[in-house]
Symmetry: C2
Subunit: 169 residues, 2 copies
Amino acid sequence: MDAAAPEMIEALKEEARVAYREAMAHLAAAVTIVTTDGEGGRAGFAATAVCSLSDTPPTLLVCLNKASSAHAAVSVNGIVCVNVLAAHHENISRVFGGRTPMTERFESGTWEIGDTGAPVLADALTAFECRIGHVVDGGTHDIFMAEVLAIRSTTDKPLIYFRRSYQSL
Amino acid sequence: MDAAAPEMIEALKEEARVAYREAMAHLAAAVTIVTTDGEGGRAGFAATAVCSLSDTPPTLLVCLNKASSAHAAVSVNGIVCVNVLAAHHENISRVFGGRTPMTERFESGTWEIGDTGAPVLADALTAFECRIGHVVDGGTHDIFMAEVLAIRSTTDKPLIYFRRSYQSL
């Protein structure tokens, strides 16, 4: 049997990527803005690929595309704040998830400087200030293990992203 | 200055763990049942610590406590199915997240055998059958990189866990 032509293999890979992105749209997720500041510059981006790794010590995982501008900033600064958004933060999510230049993004929302130096959204549903520990190579993305140093929370309703639209509970 | 007594350090660590668990309760998350089968035995557990790593190739991250019985089964079998639950699956989540013996858990829900041999929930909101690739040491937990091989989806509403209660959109 002939080997599949390279263009056929690429077409199959693209098909798998599309099917995967469609299926992931069914995984409801909290929306977060991951921020950083320091020698690598200030940056912030909307992320749903955040989850808990351990409570001993308290550690979150943050997945970040190596090709993103935020990746370099997070790598150099070694600190992040994971700001979990409330239902009323939909516009902030759009700004940090879209094509707005990094220098203009922080004009949306009220930002304070946290203990780590990372921007903290003043009225975040929950804000986790973290120090980056290990970084694991995950192919197109890196997995940052983020050890939690400081936490603040409110009692608002959460912003949820599901089937490509914003919702709340 | 005297070094802090060991018991004081332990008390601070426990305080940090409690604060972290409280804050994580504010991170709304889809509920999944991660299942496996093979030489390591059949197992399944409720998990919210699942997120997307990459779409090239399609890969999920699954975090699993090293001390859990499911950890050994997943490690030996090398395959999992991530079954994303619909709103009407609350009872299945309670069974797989509680103290029900592993042999009795699969009596809740309608389970089929997937292409990988893993149990697939017949009416899952979305089911991702995966082959385990790299496993990364995350302290108390391991991070399993799960490459997606097959997907099926429905159009139901999602089951969401937020502030220790089940909700939907």
